[in-house]
């Protein structure tokens, strides 16, 4: 943490009791006080855990839009989860979870989960690599960035790293990734900010105080020496070993044979053991379910179900562990994947690369609930139709930075590469944002476009209590092709017409956005 920020934060903390008198919490919306309260996060030991789902997770089979079920059953009958088996969520009727995710359902019902619907970006890439790079760097679809969003974040908090690190203020790695490589997410302006775990086997050995065998040869002798030195001289080896040794997992809910569980077990130990590392990344693969993602006779089981079960069980056990360790209030986490999958399933019982998808944020600090609406599924789905984004993934990042880590607007903007994204009400930390959100919701309404299907010209109709709103149109691939409505409107119903001549026939999505609210509907062009 920058010394300057620390001083600023500490000063704000001392002013708090006085300042609160006479000011409603809401009046501090977007302003300094709550942010500065949050800004103590880096001091108070807050930790964020990212769970990367490699391959592109099928969001439509994970967070199931029950109100779209009949259209969904037409589009993806051979992978469809039977609606009777979808796990219901308390207080929610139109949305449920995959039957394998009982752990996550329990967490939701206990107020520990926030689901953000249809997270993506405009002009989505369908390449694993490109899409992953976009998620890691936080760039627009048409930009090639070489630094990662977490790298920029950590660079802002710990300037000049690694020069002068470790030090007494930050004796521990800035970020830890458990896995084979250090993610592009952590790439800072000059170098990667995460601890370089050069050899995953070595990392587990380090944590567990074991060693890999070496061959019985001269080369083996020298290799054993080099590995010993590598562990001894890793500037963070000592603190990691000490942290791992200082804590043990408390939960009995971890399931063996679950690699994500094993990774999260280590994370929990290291946090409890006293590492000040603010960011961890863990991952699991196998989500590229092009074929046979479900059992052909029982769609509630199969390879995707196995993955979601592992994911759910691992998060559930991790959360339980954190609670038993007494550190649950310091830790939050989220899942992400490079893209969702196509609405329409393919002939081999799988789904191809798609666009937006839901993600899950968990922890005692999240504002429980679902942000956004169920994705709109067209009644006639083509192979090209995709779930359009409701929220930019960088809005989620901005929420993490602003409301979990408590960064200032300018710090968030720096981490976002100079771009500005409105945070979502994902975390409890920022009550004002949640209140703002509550005020906004229910005050706009988007009606069906007329006519639908449309031949030459469509008329949008919407209601607002007043304020700025936009209607954007996306093609089936998720590319934004028009913004037919954008401006301030007085209270009341309004209409706007839009020429559709020249558009290729097919499904399009039109989305009304007002503040943080999004409503998406489908229109078909003939």
């Amino acid at each position: 943490m920058k010394r300057k920020q620390f001083i600023k934060t500490a000063a704000a903390g001392t002013l708090l009791p006085i300042s609160l008198n006479g000011f409603s919490m809401k009046s501090w919306s977007q302003s300094s006080l709550l942010r500065l309260l949050g800004a103590r996060a880096m001091d108070s030991g807050k930790v964020f855990v990212l769970i990367q789902l490699n391959g592109g997770n099928d969001g439509l089979n994970m967070v199931i839009p029950l109100d779209q079920y009949s259209n969904l059953s037409k589009a993806r009958n051979n992978v469809l989860i039977p609606d009777t088996q979808v796990l219901g969520l308390s207080g929610v009727s139109a949305t449920g979870l995959h039957p394998a995710m009982d752990g996550l359902r329990q967490m939701y019902n206990n107020g520990l989960v926030n689901i953000v619907q249809s997270v993506g970006y405009t002009s989505p890439s369908f390449s694993h690599f490109r899409a992953t790079d976009i998620w890691m760097t936080g760039s627009d679809s048409n930009e090639n960035w070489t630094t990662g969003w977490l790298g920029r974040f950590l660079d802002g908090q710990f300037p000049a790293f690694p020069t002068g690190y470790p030090n007494t203020t930050m004796p521990d790695p800035l970020a830890l990734q458990i896995g084979s490589q250090v993610s592009l997410s952590f790439m800072g302006p000059a170098q990667n900010m995460a601890m370089s775990i050069t050899d995953p086997a070595n990392f587990y050995n380090l944590v567990n105080g074991s060693t890999d065998p070496t061959p019985n040869s001269h080369a083996g002798d020298e290799l054993a020496f080099l590995r010993l030195m590598a562990n001894q001289t890793n500037q963070y080896a000592t603190v990691i070993k000490a942290a791992a040794a200082a804590a043990s997992n408390q939960s009995s809910k971890y399931v063996s044979g679950n690699s994500l569980s094993d990774q999260l077990k280590i994370v929990a130990r290291l946090i409890k053991g006293g590492l000040k590392t603010p960011v961890y990344m863990v991952s699991m693969g196998g989500f590229d379910t092009h074929s046979q993602q479900v059992d052909s006779t029982d769609h509630s089981i199969g390879s995707h179900a196995t993955l979601l079960k592992r994911l759910s069980e691992a998060i559930y056990a991790f959360q339980d562990d954190l609670k038993l360790m007494g550190i649950e209030d310091r830790v939050a986490g989220m899942t992400f994947s490079e893209f969702g999958r196509r609405i329409m399933s393919n002939g081999s019982g799988g789904t191809d690369h798609g666009a937006a998808a839901p993600l899950v944020v968990f922890g005692t600090g999240v504002q429980s609930g679902i942000i956004g609406n169920n994705p709109a599924i067209p009644s006639t789905v083509t192979v090209n139709d995709n779930v359009p984004m409701q929220y930019d993934f960088r809005q989620v990042y901005a929420s993490v930075l602003a409301d979990w880590f408590g960064l200032s607007t300018s710090e968030v903007s720096a981490a976002m590469g100079g771009k500005s994204f409105n945070p979502l009400p994902v975390f409890k930390a920022n009550l004002s944002r949640i209140n703002d959100w509550a005020e906004v919701s229910g005050r706009v309404q988007l009606y069906d476009v007329q006519p639908n299907p449309v031949r030459d010209s469509a008329t949008f109709r919407f209601y607002t209590d007043g304020g700025h709103l936009d209607i954007q149109v996306f093609d089936a691939l998720g590319n934004r092709i028009a913004i037919p409505v954008s401006g301030r409107f007085v209270k009341g119903e309004h209409t706007a017409s839009w020429e559709t001549k020249g558009l290729k026939p097919g499904n399009y999505f039109y989305q009304l956005s007002h503040g943080n609210q999004r409503t998406t509907r489908v229109l078909s062009v003939l």
């Binding site: 790079d133 084979s180 250090v182 170098q191 690699s259 989500f287 590229d288 081999s348």
Partner: protein, 559 residues
């Protein structure tokens, strides 16, 4: 197609059997192999072993051209050296500091001494020497230059004239694969050596024993158990070496002999030398003649060849010389060296063509010295340096590497003392002394830095273009083959299946199908592809990550 679900269970199995390397042949700890020449053609692994030990870093093209080559021809090719450098050390500093006798871009090696700019000339010499390792031919020359620099040590900072540093290294270079006795004589009379070990102060009225002692202890006989020269032998040799000094009157420094300062009496030696007496001479060439006699007497001792062969063995094979290796390898190699009149090329050929050298048990067991590590990285990744047309920038970049290598405990041009670098003589650590809590992270930081940001100075950035090497592999579009080839190229031993899985995860995260890499690779190389730019950027990022991961493995430090 069902996607393989790759989980990381094998990363997590701490004691799992899959953690052990799979393909390293278990070597017998007994040296069953000797100097019998290997016949037949080099496998790729053998070619890489030979090249790694003889070069500072192997290029893909070298690996390819040596694979399948007949062993004898391959070794002979590496020993066929051209000792004339293509360019001499230059005035690179002239844009900021004027050298009154040497124009910017010209060589200073024959210019008059100048005390003001001498330190810049010395830097020029040191940086140039590093540049020679980067630009080496596919021969053993640069490796042997370092061998002899480590053997006949002078420390450039202790020598007052950069031209002497240059002459010293030129003598080493000219004789690096020549005759060891000739080289020893030349080194004895080398101005830098005369200065460094006080030969120029050695006069009959007050003999200075410094060089006479090191000549026997460090340069020829060594301190092996059978090397039994005496303190009186040191004194006698010192008297033989009286009368030499350094002349700086010409355009280049030279040695000069002054009879009046020479001890012209007879010198008697111990029983170790058969109680030999070297007749004192009284002619203007007395110093030269008596030196010849001294060297002939010394070189008649079996210990000389054994000492040098042990040192060559530790430089090219492994440091641990067991009694069996002493018998089966060192002794016959020393006989060969002696029988071939101390011809260096011949003894190297004998060793490098031998079954013992190619014994799998002797592969991958040398921890790279800092030059093999750093220059080796630059060569194997074919990193481009500033062009010769801009000496200021070129030398600055060489200089950066030189300084970095110095931080890894090898200051090229300035060994720590007259015995050379401890890694090549100091028991029990030997090569392990290169690896410290400071140097090992730096080695990793260096490869990381030059894969990503590189070194930027004078408008030029020295940084790896990962595509250059990758494109030369046979199937870079196939992720698994690419990993296998990159590992084989960069690491001298097989990796465990979990390590390979970890590398695979970089190119194909989450077990996505291999065609994803293939598609991106093809688009990255096809400038007409619609996603060319993004694919290129993604491919390069992945390659950097892959090479970084490979180079951060402990195995990468081995040669």
């Amino acid at each position: 197609m069902v996607n393989p679900f790759m989980d990381r269970r094998d990363f997590l199995s701490i004691h799992g059997s899959n953690a052990s390397p799979v393909a390293v042949k278990r070597a017998s700890r007994r040296a069953s192999t000797g100097l019998t020449p290997v016949t037949g053609n080099l496998t790729k692994a053998q070619a890489l072993h030979l090249l790694r030990r003889c070069l500072f870093g192997v290029r893909v093209s070298e690996m390819k051209s040596f694979t399948g080559m007949d062993v004898a021809s391959a070794v002979d090719a590496l020993l066929n050296v051209n000792t004339t450098p293509s360019v001499l050390p230059l005035n690179y500093y002239g844009n900021t500091t004027t050298d009154p006798d040497v124009a910017y871009g010209q060589t200073w090696v024959t210019a008059p001494f100048n005390g003001t700019v001498n330190f810049l000339r010395r830097s020029s010499w040191k940086f140039w020497h590093l540049g020679q390792t980067l630009n080496q031919d596919t021969t053993i020359l640069e490796k042997m230059v370092l061998f002899w620099h480590n053997h006949f040590v002078t420390e450039s900072e202790s020598v007052p004239d950069a031209r002497m540093n240059h002459l010293y290294l030129k003598t080493i270079r000219d004789n690096a694969l020549g005759n060891f006795k000739t080289l020893t004589k030349a080194m004895t009379l080398d101005p830098a050596m005369l200065y460094y070990l006080n030969g120029y102060l050695n006069v009959k009225t007050a003999p200075d024993e410094n060089y006479a002692r090191e000549l026997q202890e460090l340069f020829t006989l060594g301190k092996g158990p059978d090397s039994k020269y005496t303190e009186d032998d040191v004194k006698a040799a010192a008297r033989i070496l009286t009368g030499w000094s350094i002349s700086v009157s010409g355009s280049v420094p030279s040695n000069t002999f002054t009879l009046s300062k020479h001890d012209t009496t007879d010198k008697s030696f111990s029983s170790f030398f058969g109680n030999a007496t070297i007749k004192g001479k009284n002619t203007s060439n007395a110093g030269d003649l008596e030196l010849d006699d001294l060297l002939t007497m010394i070189f008649n001792q079996n210990e000389v060849a054994k000492f040098i062969c042990r040192k060559l063995y530790r430089y090219f094979v492994y440091y641990d010389i067991t009694p069996e290796i002493e018998t089966n390898v060192i002794a016959p190699l020393a006989d060969h060296f002696r029988n071939n009149n101390y011809d260096i090329k011949s003894v190297l050929a004998k060793l490098l063509k031998s079954e013992h050298f190619f014994d799998p048990g002797n592969m991958a067991c040398i921890i790279k010295d800092p030059i093999s590590d750093i220059s080796g990285f630059c060569r194997q990744m074919e990193m481009a340096f500033p062009p010769a047309s801009n000496p200021e920038v070129q030398y600055t970049h060489w200089g950066y590497l030189h300084t970095f290598i110095q931080s890894l405990q090898l200051n090229l041009g300035d060994p720590p003392n007259v015995a050379g670098w401890p890694a090549w003589y100091q028991e029990p650590l030997f090569y392990r002394s290169w690896i410290t809590s400071d140097s090992l992270p730096k080695r990793n930081q260096f490869t990381d830095a030059f894969l990503y940001t590189g070194f930027k100075r004078g408008g030029f950035t020295t940084v790896v273009d990962t595509l250059i090497v990758t494109k030369q592999f046979s199937h870079p579009e196939d992720a698994d083959q690419l990993i296998a080839e990159a590992v084989e190229f960069l690491i001298p031993m097989a990796l465990s299946s979990s390590q390979i899985s970890g590398l695979r995860e970089i190119l194909l995260p989450g077990g996505i199908p291999a065609y994803n890499w293939t598609d991106d690779w093809n688009a990255a190389l096809n400038t007409g592809a619609s996603n060319h730019a993004t694919a290129l950027s993604s491919v390069i990022a992945k390659l950097k990550s892959l090479y970084k991961a490979i180079m951060n493995l402990s195995e990468y430090q081995l040669s």
